[in-house]
């Protein structure tokens, strides 16, 4: 026989019960709200237009440094991203008509060349064309990497916007007609207006 419970015990029991229920309900609510918020954030991030934009500055005109902006730009465009490349300073040489496949790489002060060359030899006449030929034929060519000219053609096909920096064109003496026809000419503000809407902004 169990002893009959008093009304006081009943009260304590129901209070404990209520407390437990409250805690559990709070826990479940917190879990549910967190899930809803996480989903909404993920959904919003998917729709974020800045995720789909890439702004690249190409500031160098050597064979090796022409590749990264063009490879990244064409890859991004292939991934349905909107891409702009702003060519400034020596980068202008990349978009000079007929120049793409004449870009060179200097062996001097470049300890990372596949065949390292002492600077005293690298400074001799003919060494820069030799190193450029080696890079084009023996390395990129042999491995079937697209040429700079081919990558520029892909940029055009894929709708990558190529922008030439007006100020450096003036300073370095590039005329509009010397640059590829598909190039637009603009200033820093134009690049920044686009870059400020792009999560991926690269300086090469």
């Amino acid at each position: 026989m169990t002893a009959p419970t008093t009304s006081r015990e009943h009260m304590t029991l129901s209070l404990d019960m209520e407390q437990l229920i409250r805690e559990r309900v709070d826990e479940l609510a917190a879990e549910r709200v967190t899930k809803i918020v996480d989903d909404k954030i993920a959904e919003a991030m998917k729709k974020d237009p800045a995720k789909q934009k890439v702004a690249i500055i190409a500031s160098k005109g050597t064979l090796d440094m022409a590749y990264p902006p063009l490879i990244l730009a064409t890859a991004a465009a292939a991934m349905d991203m909107e891409v702009e490349i702003f060519f400034t300073f020596y980068g202008l040489d990349i978009i000079k008509k007929g120049q793409a496949d004449r870009l060179k790489v200097a062996p001097i002060a470049n300890p990372a060349m596949p065949v390292p060359m002492p600077n005293i030899i690298g400074m001799l006449p003919g060494m820069t064309p030799l190193a450029s030929w080696m890079m084009k034929s023996l390395y990129f060519g042999k491995h079937n990497v697209a040429t700079v000219g081919e990558l520029l053609d892909q940029c055009k096909d894929l709708g990558v916007k190529l922008i030439a920096c007006q100020m450096t064109m003036d300073v370095l003496g590039y005329k509009r007609e010397e640059l590829l026809d598909e190039v637009e000419v603009a200033g820093a503000a134009t690049f920044l207006a686009f870059a400020s809407q792009a999560h991926t902004t690269l300086f090469v």
Binding site: I71, T74, A75, A77, A78, M79, D80, H143, N144, V145, A146, Q154, D157, L158
Partner: protein
């Protein structure tokens, strides 16, 4: 290969280096009807990660991947 897929288009990207396999995919994608399956064969080892990433980024489905004697073949379905 575990299943037999009906392939609508085949891209031979063997010998192509980054980023040409995904550029080739992107360019031919407009000729692919929704639901169709495209197989792309590549030897660029970077494609191992890049093609699945391309599929995810463009909202398409990677159905299957297989590798035979250094040739990677990806089966993609147009879902976007």
């Amino acid at each position: 290969m575990t299943t037999q897929l009906h392939v609508d288009h085949f891209i031979d990207a063997k010998g192509m280096m980054c980023p040409m396999p995904i550029i080739t995919l992107k360019k031919m994608w407009k000729d692919v009807a929704p639901g169709q399956i495209v197989a792309i064969a590549a030897t660029d080892q970077g494609a191992r990660r890049d093609i699945p990433t391309w599929a995810e980024a463009t909202g398409n489905r990677l159905l299957e991947t297989n590798e035979e004697q250094g040739v990677l073949t990806f089966y993609l379905q147009k879902t976007a």
